[in-house]
């Protein structure tokens, strides 16, 4: 476990993230251009989706996949209620802000997903390709839950905003579409496709991930410097406690389903992660009164670094215990 943590901390991926945070806090002008950051994210999601699909093309679809997807949906829907209760009990966040934050923690972070697979790859631990579908399935239910929580507590959606339009938009957001689309293409083309795309999608993956995590570090560092003032101690504590709670729940489910070590680690990490692409945008539309800086600072400034530096090795170690 300690060795795992050390190996994680000394991985180039984590170090590039730390470099980014340090550069941002030192107010260096180092930056990754916006469109480049979007390219890196697109590439990583495409790569991870495709590889998952190729793996499923090998292994086939079985009942475990369906059960795991169902478990993921359940988790994503349930966690916001839990998060909301915790936030209301331990912090001073008002109902709307608490609901918005809860939505972020119920949903998943595609970037954390990419990071855990990078770490597993480095350790040579296999995970099931269908976890890509699980990740995609876990993105939206949390938003539905948050809307239920906030109903009546907010002074209404933005005028004219229809709930179904919103959910449709969230379900079709770019990161889900590329993840699932590449997954489907991986399933359809299998080994033939894999051979063709290996140099681009597989070999370069670790390097691109380093560059991307440098960027995430820069953005997280800047966000933290900016958003710190929005975070009281209890709110910041939530951003570390909630992943542990979500992760524990996910670990229990993974154990019940009988997932492999790798897949257990991925499911725990997904539950422990907090969204910062799809959900933030959805919350701006659904709960505009919520202050976006709170959830974003928590999710990218506290939870993501925590997961990257401490959480992921912990979840992998935990998965090792659970699944063996």
């Amino acid at each position: 476990m300690l060795e795992l943590a050390l190996q994680n901390l000394l991985s180039p991926m984590v170090l590039f993230f730390v470099l980014g945070v340090a550069a941002a806090l030192a107010r260096s002008d180092l930056s990754v251009p916006e469109q480049v950051a979007k390219l890196l994210a697109l590439y990583l999601l495409m790569a991870i989706g495709f590889r998952g699909g190729v793996e499923v093309a090998h292994q086939g679809i079985d009942a475990t996949m369906i059960t795991t997807i169902a478990a993921g949906i359940g988790l994503s829907f349930a966690m916001p209620f839990l998060a909301y209760l915790i936030l209301r009990a331990t912090t001073r966040l008002d109902p709307v802000n608490a609901a918005a934050v809860a939505a972020h923690y119920g949903s998943i972070s595609a970037v954390t997903f990419v990071a855990v697979t990078g770490m597993l790859g480095q350790l040579g631990i296999a995970w099931d390709g269908y976890m890509v579908a699980v990740a995609a399935a876990m993105e939206t239910p949390a938003i539905v839950a948050a809307l239920l929580i906030a109903r009546g507590r907010s002074d209404g959606d933005a005028p004219g905003e229809s709930r179904s339009t919103l959910l449709r938009e969230v379900a079709l957001n770019g990161s889900i579409v590329i993840l699932l689309g590449a997954f489907a293409i991986g399933v359809a083309t299998g080994d033939r496709g894999a051979t063709m795309l290996k140099p681009f999608l597989v070999d370069a993956f670790a390097g691109v991930l380093c560059l991307f995590l440098l960027d995430m570090g820069l953005v997280a560092g800047r966000g933290l410097a900016q958003g710190r003032r929005h975070l009281s101690a209890p709110v910041a504590a939530f951003a570390i406690v909630m992943p542990l709670i979500g992760g524990t729940l996910a670990g229990a489910l993974a154990f019940a389903i009988g997932l492999s070590v790798g897949s257990t680690a991925v499911l725990i990490t997904l539950a422990a992660s907090a969204s910062y692409i799809a959900v933030p945008a959805a919350m701006r539309l659904a709960l505009p009164q919520a202050n976006p800086a709170i959830a974003l600072t928590l999710s990218l400034g506290v939870t993501f670094p925590f997961n990257l530096l401490v959480g992921i090795p912990l979840y992998i170690a935990l998965a090792g215990r659970i699944a063996s």
């Binding site: 930056s31 960027d215 701006r284 800086a293």
Partner: protein
């Protein structure tokens, strides 16, 4: 050259709102609009920057629409209902154009 007075509406709004805003403009019957990027900004909510961002939730964009004065109120009504609950604001300026029938 003969010019004619029109109104230049400039809306600074959250990027996630863009589709809904332009739909409102279209409904209000404006002849056209253009979207200009914003790189960074500062306001009551603090600083933000587009640099390195992979999502659009924190970003602002600028919408520009040249409209006839007669249509101004309808457009402001349509837009204001949406923008007022969100981050952003609307400014209106007087401009002169050469081909008034265009707007």
């Amino acid at each position: 050259m003969q010019t004619y007075p029109k109104k230049r509406i400039e809306i600074i709004a959250e990027a996630p709102l863009l589709r809904r805003l332009t739909a409102r403009l279209d409904e209000a019957g404006v002849g056209g609009w253009s979207v200009v990027p914003i790189l960074a900004g500062h306001g009551h909510g603090g600083d933000w920057s587009a640099e390195g961002q992979i999502g659009t939730a924190t970003q602002m964009v600028m919408l520009i629409s040249i409209v006839d004065a007669a249509r101004l109120d309808a457009v402001l009504d349509a837009v204001f209902g949406l923008v007022s609950g969100q981050i952003g604001f609307v400014t209106v300026a007087d401009v002169a154009v050469v081909r008034p029938e265009r707007f």
